[in-house]
Every structure is written in structure tokens, then in C-alpha cells.
């Protein structure tokens, strides 16, 4: 399968958590394959909602969401979940890891819910543990750290394990929801470098969301969600302070 040229495509998408109150109203958003896009917006602007729509966890009230040229809006919920398991990697702000699993098992969660993704992991390298080892090496998580319980890791280390989980099996699209907001400046820049270079290696499109405009310089393109989101503009300061 040739890589699709369009990673994300939104058309006239609206979404409201409550009836008659739109949280999100986006006329158009296109992200090309391989692009690293920074979506900037202060909190409460619908960033998380946008990511949930792209991830197919939420369905828009109206409009069309296409990911990798597949219309998510036409898929059944189960198909969307399978699609996400196979093609997407997700990194959160905090609580990225299950505290009761080992680091390795947390990374394995990235492909445990998709046969195809697991097949991709084992195809490119000798085995899945080999692939995980390489990935963790790249992310600076040495083998002595790997055996430690997740709880004992620093936040920066935890976020890097989350990157490994998101990138295992080379997903087509990685979405990240404020993954650096809990990190100090130095750790933040290092984290971003690692994330961007690993996305490059995996040939993954990156959709990165943050309220910190200072990060924009690392990315190909910046999208200001406050401008893009017509619902935010119409409800005024209350929704977008």
C-alpha cells in the first residue's frame, strides 16, 4: 500500500458536548502526509476534542473527518477502534503508562490491539523485543532503566516511554496532547528532538497540540486553533480565555 498523501482532512466539522453548544466548528483543516503540525491554542479551546475526533474516539456532530484518506465518519465504532490501533500513536500530557505493567509491556500496548501493527513490528526487525530495545535505545532509555518499575521513572523518562509506545510499529499518524507541559525547559527540548527524529525515522505524520507557542519553531507548520475554531470565536472569551 502506497502511503496516502493526505494524513488528516477535516471538512465543516462541528462537535458539541452538550446540545446547542458547539465546542468545535472547523470549516477546513488539511495535514499532508509526513508533515509535523503544531496546533496552538490556550486551554479550553477544543484541542483535546479535536484530537479525539482525529483519533476516532469521538464522532463529530456534523461534517467529515478523514484520516489517511479513510472517512472515519462513515466507519462503525469498532472499525474506528481497529483503525486507531493499527495506524495511530497517541501521547498524553500525563498518565501515559499503566503503573502495574513493566516498561516493555507498556510499549507493547502500542501494538497489542492490532494484528497488522504487530506484524509490522516483527517484519522490520528480528523480533518484537529487538524492535522495542532499539526504540528505547534511541530514546535514551538504557537497558538498566528498562527493568525498573514505571513508578520509579522521572516524568521525562515516562514521557519517552510513551513516545516508544506511540511509535512502535511505525504508525502513520502520531497525535500528542501537551506531552511536554509537565517537563522543564531543558527536558522539553530534548523530548521534542527525540520525538521529531523518531517520527522522521518511522515516517509518521505528527499532530502536536500545545498552549506553549514557544514550541512552534520546532515544527513545519503552526495552526492557531482559536482562529480556526469558529465555535471558539462565536462564544467569545468564556470558551477561549
Amino acid at each position: 500500500m502506497t502511503k496516502p498523501t493526505c494524513a488528516v482532512r477535516l471538512r465543516d466539522v462541528t462537535f458539541g458536548w452538550h446540545k446547542d453548544v458547539l465546542t468545535l466548528d472547523i470549516a477546513m483543516l488539511d495535514i499532508a502526509h509526513g508533515e509535523r503540525v503544531f496546533v496552538y491554542g490556550p486551554s479550553g479551546c477544543g484541542k483535546s476534542t479535536l484530537l479525539a475526533l482525529v483519533a476516532g474516539v469521538l464522532s463529530p456532530t456534523s461534517g467529515e473527518v478523514q484520516v489517511l484518506e479513510q472517512p472515519l465518519t462513515n466507519m462503525k465504532p469498532g472499525a474506528r477502534d481497529r483503525f486507531r490501533a493499527e495506524h495511530l500513536g497517541v501521547i498524553f500530557q500525563t498518565f501515559n503508562l499503566l503503573p502495574f505493567l513493566s516498561i516493555i509491556d507498556n510499549v507493547k500496548l502500542g501494538y497489542n490491539f492490532s494484528r497488522q501493527r504487530r506484524a509490522r513490528v516483527t517484519k522490520t526487525t528480528d523480533g518484537d523485543s529487538e524492535a522495542i530495545g532499539q526504540l528505547l535505545d534511541h530514546l535514551g532509555l538504557t537497558s538498566e532503566i528498562r527493568d525498573r518499575p514505571v513508578r520509579s521513572l522521572s516524568i521525562g523518562q515516562q514521557q519517552r516511554v510513551a513516545v516508544a509506545r506511540a511509535l512502535i510499529g511505525s504508525p502513520d499518524l502520531v497525535i500528542a496532547d501537551e506531552p511536554t507541559s509537565a517537563l522543564d525547559t531543558e527536558a522539553r527540548d530534548r523530548f521534542l528532538d527525540l520525538l521529531l527524529s523518531e517520527c522522521n525515522k518511522a515516517n509518521s505524520t505528527l499532530l502536536f497540540v500545545s498552549h506553549d507557542i514557544g514550541l512552534a519553531k520546532h515544527f513545519d507548520r503552526t495552526v492557531d486553533l482559536a482562529q480556526l475554531n469558529r465555535a471558539g470565536a462565536s462564544t467569545g472569551e468564556a470558551a477561549c480565555e
Binding site: S48, L51, A85, L98, P99, F113
Partner: protein, 419 residues
Amino acid sequence: MRIVATLFKLAGHSLWNRRTTAALTVFAISMSMTLFLGVENLRKSARESFEATISDTDLIVGARSGEVNLLLYSVFRLGNPTANLDWESYKIISNQPDVAWTIPISLGDAVRGFRVVGTTQAYFDHYRYGERRPLNFAQGVPFNDVFDAVLGAQAARDMGLSVGDPIVLSHGIGGTSFVHHDDHPFRISGILETTGTPVDRAVHVSLEGLDVVHRPASERASIAAGEPSDTEAFEPEAITAFFVGMKSRILTLRMQRQINTYRGEALSAVIPGVALAQLWQVVGSVEVALGVIAGFVVITGLLGMLTSILTSLNERRREMALLRAVGARPPAIFCLLVMEAGLLAGLGSLIGVILVYAGILLAAPWVQSTYGILIIPAGPGLKDLQLVGAVLLLALALGAIPAWSAYRRSLADGLSVQL
């Protein structure tokens, strides 16, 4: 299958992560299962033991009274007969052509709380219990002298007597009788093997031996000093009851009717199985009550589990959101929580089953010697599996409550949890 394996691993690790509460939940479930299975097994054993008290006897005949009453004093040696029946009546009925054998029984005295039963050699020849098992002698032989006695296993054990020892029979039933017949001791000729029936608690003597107890002291002395008489030829004036074995079981109902309409005196003939079933209806309500209580204890244990899972849900919303993000479908989240419930209940049940059977193995001798209930320490039976299965199903059904809640939330929460 991979996903199921992943979920199973997740459920196991997640429980291990909360092992203190999980262990308490498992403990509560295992305790309730132990009680539940223990009561069930005791019920079954008590009932089987009860039904095995007498077998092969077609009719029990006594003076006119209720069926349960007749059964109680003739077989269980509880209470007293309302009246005796004439030896003449016994002779007439036992000589009927359809009658294969009869065992006369005379109740009356007790020695240290163990009931004295006057009977004949026929008792040892024809009395059957359980699966038509005969009475076997652990030591010695049946009585063949007026002053011979045969002890049931428990009577011998509790009084610490063995073959050849003397035994003093006293008037009345209580262990602390005022009038002791100290002047003519009996000698123990034999001790029976354990049966798990009231036979274990009986002191058997010949009919003549029982009769002799009630004679004046002078007569007793002369009998003791005189020639040994033929105890089988002795004819008392009256006996308490007798057991009848028919030549053919088909004839039982006709014989019962004949005895019940016997003109010589007012008699009652009961079929042991029928009377046992009637008596069990009385005793059985306790059994049912116990079962119901045990059932509620199990439900309480499972409700504890439900509470612990439900409380854990709130702090695990992020965990669920994370699983959704890596592609777990809401049904998988549902399965995960049902699996947790299944694991807790399964582990609890397993421990419960082990405890019950270890307990039965250890307690069976004590229960038998104390209550006369014979518990056969067999492995878990089909009934136990059914009970465990029912409890597990209930646990899974209860587990579906938090599972459904998590399912609904995981649909609504999206990727990030709104706390």
C-alpha cells in the same frame, strides 16, 4: 485471542497492583465459599447419614402411634413409646407365611446415657443400614448369655470398655439415674463396628437380659448363680417394637394394612422410607434455613467484591482512556472488568473449595464421633462444581455492573478524562 490474552494479563496485573484490597476481597469470597460448600456438604452428609440409618427393613411395627414417633423411638432411640405391644401379637405376625424375618426390640434402660436395647440374635443377622450393610463385630461375638451385652462402637469408645469388661445397667434414661442396679453387672461379649447410625450409641442385651434387670434382687442373684439358660427361647410379656422383613417387597403394603387393622390390639406398621421422609421434612427446614443463610453469605461476599471494583473505577478512568487510545474497544474494557470479577471470584472459590475439603478431611472423624454424621471425604462432586459454577456466574453478572459503567464512561470520556 491475542487481545483476550492481553486483557487477561492486564486484569491480573491491575489486581496485583491493588493486591491488598484484592486479597481482602478474595479472602471474603473464599470464606463465604467455605461456609457455603461446607454447609452444603454437611447437609448432604446429614441427609445421607439420616437416610442410611435403616435399610432392608420393610416395616416397623409398634403400638398405635404416629409414624414419626414410632420411627423416632424404634430406630433413633429417642423419646419413649406410648405403649408396648404384646409378645403374642409379635408371634402371630412373625409367623405369617409372607414374613421372612423379624427383629424384636425392647427399649427401656440406659447406661451412662447410652440406651439399652433388648433384642435377639436376629438383630445381628438381619439389621441393615446404608447400602444394605450388615452389622459387623469389631471385637467379640453376639450375646449368648443373660448377662451378656454387645456395645455399639461409640458407646464402647466413650465408656472406654472392651470385650470382657463388666457393665452396670441402671434404671431410667438419664446418665445420672438415682437407682443403680449395681448388684448384677453384665459382661461385654462383643463390640460392633462403627456404622454412623444410632446403633453406635446402643447397648444391646438379650430380651431376657433386659427382663432380668427389672426383677427383684433375690431372683437376679439366683439367675446369675444358676445354669445358663437359652436366651433365644425366652418369651417376654411385651416388647417395644419390631422390624419386619418380607419375603417379597410387593407384599409389604398388604402386610401393613393387615397389621394396621389387626384385631388383637391397636398396632401401627410404618414403611421406614416413608417415615424417614416425613421426619426429614421436620428436620429439613433447618437444613433449608442453613442453606439460605450460607447463600446470603456468598452474596454478601460478592457484593463486597462489587464495591471494591466500583470504588476502583474512578481512579482508573485514566487507565481506561489510555486503553481506548491504544485501540482497545469499549467491549474490551467491559471484558477487562468482568475478567477482574471472574479472577477474584474464581480465586476465592478455589481457595474456598480447598479449605472445605481440607476441613472435611480433618473434621470428619470428629463430626462422626460427636454427631454420628458419617462424612465421606470424597473429592469435589458434580454438585460442588454446580455450586461453584453458579457463584462464578453470579460474580460475572455482578462484574458486569462496573463493566457497564466503565463501558459507558469510556464512550463518553473520549481521549482525555474530564475530572
